[in-house]
């Protein structure tokens, strides 16, 4: 193996309420592809953000090319040759491919931007990587896979020595993944150090040389990929925490009534003719790849986005839902995948957030009955075991799991019977995750009906009574939990992709 290019030693980082990184070590050699693995919330992304200067570490040291470094922003890191290819791509859709690649360091001809030279240079880069993309194409016209290739080309053009891939395959098709791997092998030959973050065990075995595993913000160990099995890695990832087995049979009684029926729902490209039923006390899992249209379906159902056609029935009655207001009136609550943007008002207190959907119930004439409001909030803090010093705490000061509980409280105060959980455990650490699972199971057993959108296969298999699979805006399958396997779901989730 090659010489060491990067060493991260004893990296420590604490956020309010979360010890995100607890003395973590990581080492990368030239010419290796090094997988960084761990459950969601294990600290992989945080570690990479510390490396690239997005977060400042509390302690520890980063040694890069033999010198101790500390980057203050991604630009510094880029200058030094450490580039990150994000899961969510950072591209300006309205600019061309070439303009995107050279954004911030445009070639100039006097006072004017030299577009021709940028196009030429982009073409050279693509040739080098054996990619065929037109540098003059508008970025938003490309597929996600192609956009990612552009990100890689951009990274290379920065004279990168270390490239970090953050779940690059999450939104890619099989074919695109193969192309990606070809490029990665090429880069490895050129003696670059590559950090590869992914959840997909099979990919790890195919593409990486070594694996470093993290768990709950700690460093667990590093293995040579060829010398270990999938099970070894999984064991390191989950540790001694007994991993709950997938559900084996539906918990819903056979005669449970249908509480929600969605009939031929259409909303733009991402929701095409989606129909399904939800029964009382059921947890209905929605599985699929990123961009399969699950969130869009939920938002259209909830009235957050306009729908083009389709009928919604609640308890057998046809209802009109044209705004979230209508949906809430009919007892539907929506917990967004992006809590901070769509779920909570972070600068307000737990109390203010808890009664946001139900304020009219806490009015004494014209005025808000603050005592009653506080009482119900405290009741739910207790019931959901939300960790906070008081109901007056600003939500911004809570950890992800506790913020999620505030959103759940908001809908429970409203007494919603149908709850849509969109990625309920995203950005939540392992312990809190289990609590959210328990809570969802309890709610279902109390007769609430839950739609759970999740990109984590283990979560889908563990929680769902039935699974709806979507792909490119269409429902491609419905699997009872008794018959569900990862393979069966994956097969349907990639069904329509050419």
């Amino acid at each position: 193996m090659g010489e060491v290019i990067l060493t991260m030693k004893d990296i420590d980082k604490t956020f309010p309420g979360v010890h995100a990184l607890d003395h973590v070590n990581f080492e990368l050699e030239k010419g290796e592809v090094h997988a960084l693995m761990g459950e969601n919330g294990a600290g992989k992304s945080t570690l990479m953000k510390v490396l690239t200067g997005i977060y400042t570490k509390d302690s520890g040291s980063i040694i890069y090319e033999g010198r101790e470094v500390e980057f203050h922003n991604t630009h510094d890191a880029q200058e030094a040759g450490i580039v990150i290819v994000h899961q969510e791509l950072n591209m300006v859709g309205d600019l061309t491919v070439a303009q995107n690649i050279f954004i911030g360091r445009e070639f100039m001809k006097g006072f004017m931007i030299d577009d021709r030279k940028m196009i030429e240079e982009s073409r050279k880069l693509f040739d080098e990587l054996h990619i065929s993309i037109d540098p003059k194409a508008r970025m938003s016209d490309l597929t996600v896979g192609k956009q990612q290739m552009c990100e890689i080309a951009k990274a290379i053009s920065h004279k990168a020595k270390v490239i970090i891939f953050d779940e690059p395959s999450a939104a890619l098709t099989e074919k695109e993944i193969e192309d990606l791997f070809a490029i990665i092998r090429d880069l490895r030959k050129q003696n670059l150090g590559i950090i590869y973050i992914s959840h997909r065990m099979d990919e790890i075995k195919v593409i990486t040389d070594r694996v470093t595993v993290m768990r709950d913000g700690t460093y667990v160990g590093t293995l040579i990929t060829n010398d270990c099995t999938k099970e070894d890695i999984i064991n390191m990832m989950v540790g001694r925490v007994i991993y709950e087995e997938p559900k084996t049979h539906s918990m819903v009684p056979a005669d449970a009534p249908v509480v929600l029926k969605v009939d031929h729902l259409n909303a733009g490209k991402m929701v095409q003719d989606v129909s399904f039923e939800l029964r009382k006390g059921e947890i209905l899992g929605f599985s699929g790849l990123m961009g399969a249209g699950r969130t869009e379906t939920a938002r259209a159902l909830f009235g957050a986005d306009p729908k083009t056609s389709g009928d919604i029935y609640i308890n057998g009655q046809k209802v009109e839902i044209n705004s979230p207001r209508d949906a809430v009136k009919h007892g539907i609550g929506y917990l967004s995948e992006d809590r901070k943007r769509y779920g909570i008002v972070v600068q307000k207190t737990i109390t203010e957030n808890s009664t946001l959907a139900t304020l009219e119930k806490y009015m004494a004439g014209l005025f808000i009955n603050k005592a009653a409001e506080k009482a119900v909030t405290e009741q739910y803090i207790k019931e959901l075991d939300t960790k906070t010093p008081s109901a007056d705490q600003l939500v911004v000061n809570l950890s992800g799991g506790n913020q999620q509980k505030v959103v759940i409280a908001k809908w429970l105060v409203r007494n919603c019977d149908i709850l849509i959980f969109d990625e309920p455990t995203r950005g939540i650490d392992v312990g809190a995750k289990n609590e959210i699972y328990k809570l969802m199971n309890r709610l279902a057993s109390e007769g609430k009906s839950i739609i759970m959108i999740s990109s984590e296969m283990t979560e889908i298999l563990r929680m769902s009574d039935r699974i709806v699979v979507m792909c490119e805006g269409k429902k491609t399958g419905e699997i009872p939990i008794e018959e569900a396997t990862q393979e069966a779901i994956m097969d349907k989730a990639t069904r329509d992709i050419a």
């Binding site: 909570i344 008002v345 600068q347 946001l356």
Partner: protein
């Protein structure tokens, strides 16, 4: 320092507001020391005159800023209200009571106009209020045929001068009572009603409030309506103190009202607002105006200072937020 900040009373009143109040007192002392004859009732009454109309403007715009919006039309709208209703009074001979109600109604209409464009049509507040500013100036000019309008004096033979009692009776600043009542009502609206709660929450995260099933457009519009109403009331206090309004003016008061808000701790980013803070801010600006006049400097100097105040306080707010994140 930290222990002072954590004192319950200090927390309740707000540390920054206490500091601002101290600055207000300090300014008064300094002006009194450097300007002979500044101390005394005459100046204070004059400051009060300024506080009333600016106060109503600033209280109104506090609601708009709380939603994360902005209103650059309040000054000209106030003038438009005073011009149109005053013209009705002088030219058509409508009773003064009707004129006053007309002024408030005109302000209300402007508020509805701004609010519906922002909340229901989705035009950015900046653009809407800039356009409305010109509409208000133009409308005031057209309605009065580009002539200034003088409201009746207190001893006017028509008996219409009684409205000045709203501002003062002899040497008693009755306006202070009206203003205090308005402050109390608006404080309650902001902090203890559904309207205030939703306005503050939507200013902080509109989408989250919408997805909670709240009709955010209605409440967002309401903020502009309150703002317009306050401009209509401010108009009465302006003419009650200064008698005459000229068409085509009023925009200097936008900045002064906005400066009062941001000084008092209302965040331009929305979601945070302090009625009490705005009131102290209004007193600071009014005192500043009086002091500058007494120093025989021009209004332009004050415009420079209020401009700088806005920048400094907005910068302080932005950097405080950045530090928190």
């Amino acid at each position: 320092m930290k222990t002072i900040k954590e004192n319950a009373l200090v927390k309740k009143l707000g540390f920054n507001r206490i500091i601002l109040f101290a600055i207000l007192l300090l300014m008064y002392v300094v002006f009194s020391l450097i300007i002979p004859g500044f101390a005394g009732m005459a100046r204070i009454m004059s400051i009060f005159n300024y506080v009333y109309f600016l106060g109503f403007l600033a209280l109104g715009v506090t609601f708009v800023i709380a939603t994360g919006g902005i209103d650059f039309s309040i000054g000209p709208v106030m003038f438009c209200c005073a011009l149109m209703s005053g013209y009705m009074l002088n030219t058509y001979g409508v009773p003064v009571v009707i004129s006053i109600l007309a002024s408030i109604a005109i302000g209300f209409c402007f508020g509805c106009f701004n609010g519906s464009l922002v909340a229901f049509v989705g035009v950015p507040p900046f653009i809407v209020s800039m356009a409305t500013m010109n509409i208000a100036k133009g409308l005031g000019s057209v309605f009065t045929k580009t002539q200034s309008v003088s409201w009746p004096q207190g001893n006017d033979p028509s008996g219409n001068g009684w409205f000045r009692n709203l501002v003062k009776v002899g040497d008693v600043p009755t306006g202070l009572i009206v203003f205090a009542v308005a402050v109390i009502i608006l404080f309650i609206v902001m902090n203890h009603t559904k309207a205030g709660r939703y306005i503050l929450c939507l200013g902080s995260n509109k989408e989250a409030v919408r997805l909670s099933g709240v009709d955010v457009r209605k409440w967002q519009m309401l903020a502009y309506v309150i703002c317009g109403l306050m401009a209509g009331i401010a108009a009465i206090f302006f003419v009650g103190a200064y008698t005459t309004v000229q068409p085509g003016l009023g925009d200097t008061y936008n900045n002064e009202a906005i400066a009062s808000c941001v000084m008092g701790g209302t965040s331009m980013a929305g979601g945070l607002a302090s009625i009490g803070g705005t009131v102290i801010g209004v007193f600071v600006i009014s005192l500043l105006q009086e002091g500058i006049m007494a120093l025989r400097m021009t209004k332009e100097v004050q415009m420079i200072i209020t401009g700088l105040i806005v920048i400094v306080f907005v910068y302080a707010d932005v950097s405080a937020r950045r530090r928190k994140n």
